[in-house]
C-alpha cells in the first residue's frame, strides 16, 4: 500500500472551534484547510466537523448549499471525524434537537443532545479509547451529547468509566463506523493529537485505496 504524504483534510468552518482542529491536523502531517463552500468541500480527502452549536451549523449548512453535497460525499465514503456538535450532525438521529435540525446520517447511532446537562455540569475526565496507545485520553465534555444507541457495524471506542456512577456511567462517548468516527468530547482542546492521528491515518488509507 502506498502512503500519501500529506492528505488534504478540511475542517467545516461555518462556526465553532475550527482553529484548534486545523492546528491538530497540521501537527499530524495533513494539509489542513477550512471548508465553507461546495468547491472547497470537493477538494478535500477527509473532513472534520468541529464543536460548535449544532443548530447553527445545521442552519448554515443549508443556507450555504453544503448540506446535500456533504451528504453525497459521505455516502460515497468520505472519511469524517466529528467532535461534539460534529458527532450530533453525523448521527442518524438526535434526541432533544430542534425538529428542523438536519442529520447527515453517516453514523448509525442515536445521540442525545446536551445529555450531561447544562454548562455547570460540563466536565473533564480520563477515558480509555480503543486504538489509542500511550495511556488515557483527557476527555473535555462541554454541554456534550452522548450516544444513546448504536446500530450494527458501529464500533464503540470509549465509554464514561463505570466508576463515575450516576446516569452518565458507562455511556458511549466515542464511536467509529467504517471511515467515519466521532467523539462526544473535544480532543482538539487538549493539545493531545492522538485521535487526530488515527483519523489522518484513516484518510491516508482511503486516498491510497482510491488510487
Amino acid at each position: 500500500m502506498t502512503t500519501v504524504a500529506a492528505p488534504t483534510v478540511g475542517v467545516l468552518a461555518l462556526q465553532g472551534n475550527v482553529a484548534e482542529h486545523l492546528d491538530a491536523l497540521q501537527a499530524c502531517g495533513a494539509d489542513a484547510r477550512p471548508v465553507r463552500r461546495p468547491a472547497e468541500l470537493d477538494a478535500v480527502d477527509g473532513l472534520v466537523l468541529p464543536g460548535g452549536e449544532s443548530t447553527t451549523l445545521s442552519k448554515l449548512l443549508v443556507a450555504f448549499d453544503l448540506l446535500e453535497p456533504l451528504r453525497a460525499r459521505l455516502a460515497a465514503g468520505l472519511p469524517a471525524f466529528g467532535s461534539c456538535a460534529g458527532m450530533i450532525l453525523l448521527a442518524r438521529e438526535a434526541i432533544d434537537a430542534r425538529p428542523d435540525q438536519h442529520q447527515l446520517g453517516a453514523l448509525d447511532v442515536v445521540v442525545r443532545r446536551n445529555a450531561f446537562g447544562r454548562q455547570v455540569q460540563s466536565f473533564e475526565t480520563d477515558l480509555t479509547v480503543t486504538g489509542v496507545r500511550g495511556g488515557p485520553v483527557r476527555g473535555v465534555f462541554i454541554r456534550a451529547p452522548w450516544v444513546e444507541s448504536v446500530g450494527r457495524g458501529v464500533d464503540v471506542l470509549a465509554r464514561i468509566p463505570s466508576s463515575t456512577g450516576g446516569p452518565a456511567s458507562g455511556k458511549v462517548v466515542a464511536v467509529r463506523q467504517g471511515p467515519v468516527m466521532a467523539t462526544a468530547f473535544h480532543p482538539e482542546q487538549t493539545g493531545d493529537a492522538r485521535l487526530h492521528d488515527l483519523f489522518v491515518a484513516r484518510v491516508r488509507e482511503s486516498v491510497a485505496a482510491a488510487r
Partner: protein, 302 residues
C-alpha cells in the same frame, strides 16, 4: 448544583470547560433577548447563544434608573424556550446576583457595565464559581485584570445601546494592537509592560509567548448591521454580541439571520452585500463623540 461526575480524575468548572464553551461559540453571534419569544427568533436565525436581560441597552439608556439582574422567572422562561446556551447579566461586583444566575442554570454570566455597578472597587471573584464568566474590556490591561479575576471570555465593551460601532472599533483595535506589541517585546521588558498595563505578570508573559489572549475575544457594543459584524471580525474579533441592534430594528428575524451569515463569511464582500440587501430599517443609533461622560457605560469597571 453538583455534577454526577465529580471523582478524583473527573471535574467540573475547570479552566478547560469554562474557556472551552467560549471556544465552541467562536464564529457565532450571541443575541440580547428580553422574552422567550425573542429567544426563539434568535435561535431560529442561527444564534449560537442568547443573552437574557430585562431591557435591551437602548431601553436601559432611555429609562434611566438602576439596572439590575433580570427576574429569575424571565430567565427560566428563556432557558426553557431554547436549546442553545443562555447567558445572563449580573452587575459589576454583585457576586450574589452571579450566585443566583449560577443556581438558575445559566451557561455563562456576563459581569456587565450595561447594568449599574454594585461595587466601585471590586469585580466579582470569578474563580469562585463553576459557571464561566464573560467580561467587557476597553483595552488590554482591563482584559487581563478580568482574566486574572477568572473571566473565561472577553468582549469589547463598545458603547452599548447606541447602534454606533465606533467605540467597539476603538476597543478592539486597542486590545489587538497591545497584544501585538507584547508579542514583539524582549522578555526583560515584560515586567515594565505588566506594570504599565496594571495586569498580572504571568498572563502578560503568556501572551508575549503565544501572541494571543488566553481566552476567546468577542466584540460587543454598538453592532447594528451585517457589515458592522464583519468589520469587527476582520479586526480580530472571534465572534459577535448584538444587543439592541436586532430587536430595535425594523425586521429582527431577517436582520438576525443576515448578521449570522455575515459573521461566518466576514471576509467575503459578495456574501455581505447579498445578506445586507432589503433588511429594512436599522436601529436609529446615536453618536458617541458628543455623549456626556455620565451617559457612557464603557467607563464603568476598571
Amino acid at each position: 448544583m453538583t455534577s454526577p461526575t465529580q471523582t478524583s480524575t473527573s471535574r467540573t468548572g475547570s479552566d478547560g470547560v469554562k474557556r472551552g464553551l467560549a471556544d465552541m461559540l467562536k464564529g457565532g453571534v450571541i443575541m440580547d433577548v428580553v422574552t422567550p419569544e425573542q429567544a426563539k427568533i434568535a435561535e431560529d436565525a442561527g444564534a449560537v447563544a442568547v443573552m437574557a436581560l430585562e431591557r435591551v441597552p437602548a431601553d436601559i439608556r432611555a429609562d434611566g434608573g438602576v439596572a439590575r439582574m433580570s427576574d429569575p422567572d424571565m430567565i427560566t422562561g428563556i432557558v426553557d424556550a431554547v436549546s442553545i446556551p443562555v447567558m445572563a447579566k449580573a452587575r459589576i461586583g454583585h457576586f450574589v446576583e452571579a450566585q443566583v444566575l449560577q443556581s438558575l442554570g445559566v451557561d455563562y454570566v456576563d459581569e456587565s457595565e450595561v447594568l449599574t455597578p454594585a461595587d466601585e472597587a471590586h469585580h466579582i471573584d470569578k474563580w469562585a464559581f463553576t459557571v464561566p464568566f464573560v467580561c467587557g474590556a476597553t483595552n488590554l490591561g482591563e482584559a487581563l485584570r478580568r482574566i486574572g479575576e477568572g473571566a473565561a471570555m472577553i468582549r469589547s465593551k463598545g458603547e452599548a445601546g447606541t447602534g454606533n460601532v465606533v467605540e467597539a472599533t476603538r476597543h478592539m483595535r486597542a486590545i489587538r494592537a497591545d497584544v501585538r506589541r507584547l508579542a514583539r517585546m524582549d522578555s526583560q521588558e515584560l515586567y515594565a509592560a505588566a506594570k504599565e498595563l496594571q495586569a498580572p505578570l504571568p498572563i502578560v508573559q503568556e501572551i508575549a509567548g503565544s501572541g494571543r489572549l488566553p481566552v476567546v475575544l468577542f466584540t460587543a457594543g454598538g453592532i447594528a448591521t451585517p457589515a458592522d459584524a464583519a468589520m469587527m471580525m476582520q479586526l480580530g474579533a472571534e465572534g459577535v454580541f448584538v444587543g439592541s441592534g436586532i430587536f430595535k430594528s425594523g425586521d429582527p428575524a431577517r436582520r438576525a439571520e443576515a448578521i449570522v451569515k455575515a459573521t461566518t463569511f466576514h471576509d467575503d464582500p459578495d456574501v455581505i452585500a447579498k445578506v445586507s440587501a432589503g433588511l429594512g430599517e436599522a436601529m436609529v443609533g446615536r453618536t458617541t463623540s458628543d455623549m456626556p461622560d455620565s451617559e457612557r457605560l464603557a467607563t464603568r469597571g476598571w
